[in-house]
Amino acid sequence: MIEIKGVSKRFGDFLALDNVSFNIRNGEIVGYVGLNGAGKTTTIRIAVGVLQPDQGDVLINGYSIVHDKRRASRYIGWVPEQPIFEPDAKALDYFVYLAGYYGYSASEARSLGKKLLEEVGLGNALYKKLKEYSQGMKKRFALAVSMINNPDNYLFDEVLNGLDPQGIAFFRDLAVKFRKEGYAVLFSSHILSEVENIADRVVFIHKGRIIREMNIEEIRALIKPILKIKVDRVDDRIKAILDKYGIINIKAREKIVLIEEPSTDSSEIVGVLVKNGYRVEEVSMVKSSLEKVFFKIIGEER
């Protein structure tokens, strides 16, 4: 359970976070979505305790990251947007070094390191130097390190960004597994569709402020299917005929009829039109995009 409570942060004159509050409950995957520079990374860095908030606090399993960091840090894993390690260290050595902070002896840490690095798919790069790691490998390495203490809270900052399909699938599966185990997981992204099919809930941040929190069902609800039919002519009658199948929108000049959330199959509607003497030239199903929804949400705030 991660509770972000009224966090504000200034960089000089610039207010990067303005009273940001939201929770990530156990067994829940939360998407954290905002445009570039919205403040996602800043929020996450404050939540893991590497950046000091000007105001507010973050509770990890009830422990304050500001006042009780040593304890709070034991319960949180973090995969940074751009993980940075000591470049000249070898992966397993660096893992052993970091595991020491959790009280692991070198030999314990070595076997744990081999196991976890294997688990995240770095089994064949144990002895590579970290500067030879690709961006995706660095993220996997950071994940392995995050799992040292087996915490029940995870913060993934743009973790899917720049990963290959295999990597994306890996992190998605992992998140689902974590959810099943009752962990709290946060995925940040600047693309709504990236988190749409994984998150239970999405928190929208814009210019440092939380503008909306929505369940995934609410978001999906905003995505309406539209039946687009091109006919040989449009007249007054066509609206009357189609009215009972949904909200009708007619573009007379292009001879196009749009039916929002059609109540029945498209073939049935086409059948009705043909029966009434219209010639149907083209039928397609279009979707209002997630990104449109996203911008609409942001726009609403403006």
């Binding site: 000091q52 840090s73 949180i76 940075i84 000591e86 020491g100 902070y101 959790y102 009280g103």
Partner: protein, 525 residues
């Protein structure tokens, strides 16, 4: 509680137990050995590392070369090589390998010496080589030795080889003592080596010739006795000793009985409350007295202390080793912070304060341990090289002086490392280093010349401005060691309390200021 301390102890352990610490340890040990060698070298430029007192005599178709070879502490050496050289063309006239106390019979030597010494004095150079070092002496014939006037049967011809001349500040010339004016029966050379001024430990090297040995039917009993007196007003004469009134009723201790030609090294404990050693040379019912003033004698330990603390000794170390701590602060703080690696570490169960403190303490512990390695290697190096060391007071002062100054430098570098980018860190760090070490003397000079006092005030400004330099504690410990051995005079502007306060402020001030910055600084690259 224990669980929450584990990461901190771990971070400290990791910061301290690094390859570089081991390298520093080796570096400082080598530095220490180098320092003891350098200070030994600085010492033997002022003082001969080995010395010889010897004589050659010819009698009844034999030629005897006898004497002793001793080091600067008056200890007989194990082995020495003695070469008689013709200084004009550097040819070797005679060559002997001898023990510390030797007698050699070689007719050839007298032939050579007669040829080269008799007419042109000092023309034979005697080179003594030992494992402790080399020294060169010159031969001088004893011309004034009475031969026929009173003791017609005294037929020996003596040639002495005197101890090497020493600078006036170190020891008076070897004095020709105990030649009884009325009955010349013996001749004595001496050299008094003061080891420690505080304890009065000294060595008296003596050569005495009982010339009555060769006089038929006259065998008086000779004894040498000694005592101490405090001379009222000592006026150094041309030969390093003045006229001293010796009371009639002075009681003496027996030093030795004189038999034939005789060489001896005696360990004496000089009375530190008195000023002169009195030697009484007794035979039959007559006696003659000679005094040796040791008030102005420069003790060996002071020569060593002076050499050790000079710029040729530990001064060199204090000048250059802050660089090591510049690097340490760089690798522990500046570099990982700048590349952003510290941020990922900070996501472990440690706080910023923990990281700041543990890496600082790792540097401090390094300073303590490497300085211990340095001081110990200097200590053992000097025991091996010359068998003399400073007293405990001076070693403690030396140790804390160096540790204090290295920690002050480290604190300054750590402040820079926690607050500025690593590229700028090296440049600014080196600038500060140069300012406080190489350029500092120029700054003192500028102060002395512009603010007042001129060159004469240089020393006073040295101690006044030292408070503004992280080197302060080293400067002051050096000052007090030199003062302790009376190598230098008290400087009115030197204030030990301010020196201690200055060092503490250098350390604590930079540490706190550094944390104030580090606490808020952005750790991502």
């Amino acid at each position: 509680m224990i669980e929450s301390l584990t990461p901190i102890l771990y971070d400290f352990k990791r910061s301290f137990l690094r390859l570089s610490t081991l390298l520093f340890l080796i570096l400082f040990t080598i530095g220490g050995i180098g320092t003891s060698y350098l200070s030994y070298n600085a010492m033997i430029t002022q003082y001969p590392p080995v010395n010889m007192m010897a004589l050659v005599y010819e009698e009844n178709n034999t030629c005897v070369f006898m004497g002793i070879v001793y080091d600067m502490k008056g200890e007989l050496v194990d082995r020495a090589n003695i070469k008689f050289n013709n200084p004009v063309n550097d040819s070797v006239l005679a060559d002997y390998n001898v023990n510390g106390n030797f007698t050699i019979n070689d007719k050839g030597l007298c032939k050579v010496l007669k040829k080269y010494v008799n007419e042109e004095k000092y023309s034979v150079e005697v080179k003594i080589s030992t494992s402790m070092g080399e020294s060169t002496l010159y031969i001088r014939p004893i011309e004034q030795l009475p031969q026929t006037n009173f003791w017609p049967l005294a037929t020996r011809a003596y040639i002495t080889i005197l101890t090497k001349k020493l600078p006036k500040t170190i020891s008076p010339f070897p004095s020709n003592i105990g030649v009884p004016s009325e009955i010349p029966v013996a001749i004595v050379w001496d050299q008094l080596i003061l080891l420690s001024k505080s304890s009065g430990e000294a060595k008296l090297v003596l050569m005495a010739l009982n010339i009555t040995n060769s006089v038929n039917n006259y065998k008086p009993r000779f004894t040498i006795e000694y005592s101490f007196i405090k001379s009222e007003s000592f006026t150094p004469g041309m030969f390093g000793f003045g006229e001293v009134k010796v009371p009639e009723n002075l009681s003496y201790n027996l030093l030795d009985e004189l038999r034939n030609e005789y060489f001896g090294v005696y360990s004496l404990r000089l009375d530190v409350n008195k000023t002169d050693l009195v030697l009484r040379f007794k035979y039959d019912n007559s006696s003659s007295i000679q005094t040796i003033n040791y008030e102005l004698l420069f003790p060996i330990e002071a020569i060593y202390a002076g050499a050790l603390s000079s710029t040729a000794g530990l001064g060199l170390f204090v000048q250059f080793f802050p660089i090591v701590f510049l690097y340490l602060a760089y690798s522990l703080m500046a570099k990982p912070r700048s590349i952003g690696a510290l941020e990922f570490i900070l996501a472990r169960p440690v706080t910023r304060w923990d990281i700041y403190l543990t890496r600082y303490l790792a540097g401090i512990l390094t300073a303590f341990i490497t300085t211990a390695a340095l001081v110990l290697s200097v200590y053992f190096g000097n025991i091996l090289l010359l068998g003399t060391t400073l007293d405990t007071y001076s070693w403690i002062l030396l140790y804390f002086g160096i540790v204090g100054s290295l920690i002050a430098f480290y604190s300054l570098f750590y402040l820079l490392a926690s607050s500025i980018r690593s590229s700028a860190y090296l440049a600014i760090g080196i600038m500060f280093y140069l300012l406080f070490t190489l350029f500092w003397n120029i700054i003192i000079l500028i102060f002395a010349l512009t603010i007042g006092g001129g060159f004469a005030a240089y020393t006073e400004y040295t101690y006044l401005l030292a408070y503004f330099n992280p080197k302060c504690s080293a400067t002051y410990s050096n000052y007090y060691i030199n003062l302790h051995y009376e190598i230098i005079k008290e400087v009115p502007t030197a204030n030990p309390l301010l020196a201690v306060i200055s060092t503490i402020l250098w350390i604590i001030g930079t540490f706190i200021l550094g944390y104030c910055i580090f606490r808020r600084i952005n750790l991502s690259s």
